[in-house]
């Protein structure tokens, strides 16, 4: 599986939040 580009993931979500007016819920995780 390729490395996830977390910045791109976040940036896409932020763009959607800006265009939709919805709040952004960011879940920082770290697998055990």
């Amino acid at each position: 599986m390729g490395q996830v580009n977390w910045k791109a993931t976040y940036d896409a979500a932020l763009a959607e939040a800006r265009s939709s007016g919805k709040p952004l819920f960011v879940d920082f995780f770290h697998p055990a």
Binding site: A13, L14, A17, D27, F28, H30
Partner: protein, 145 residues
Amino acid sequence: MYPVESVQALLNGTFVLAKVHLEEGAALAKRFNVTWTPALLFLDGSETVHHRILPGSLPVDDFVPAIKVGLGKGQFDAQKYDAAIQTFQGVIDAHARSLAVPEALYWRGVCFYKKGDKAKLVESWKSISANHPGSFWAKAITFLG
């Protein structure tokens, strides 16, 4: 993304979701001063953080109302007091036994105050003292008497 349907439904219906690995997304974590997980942040489109849940490892009966409080805090910060009151009331009504209720009562009271109704602030806060005397929020309003 979340195994419990009620959580997934609430999040999908209300928010744009982003899940970030703490280490692999270290630059983002550093920007938001996240140093432990699970850390749940509630942001707006300007990347202003309105609420945090840390640790975010709550049981679902407390997790759902905690998310709703986060939503309400964002609405409060945006001065959408009527919407925030409705959100906090939803926590109080639907999750009466959750740990989030005292906080919802506190912020509902502040919303009423911001709308010019000091009596309803006092009513909300007295409910904290009466029904949640051991809570952090009861301690925060001991000056009320």
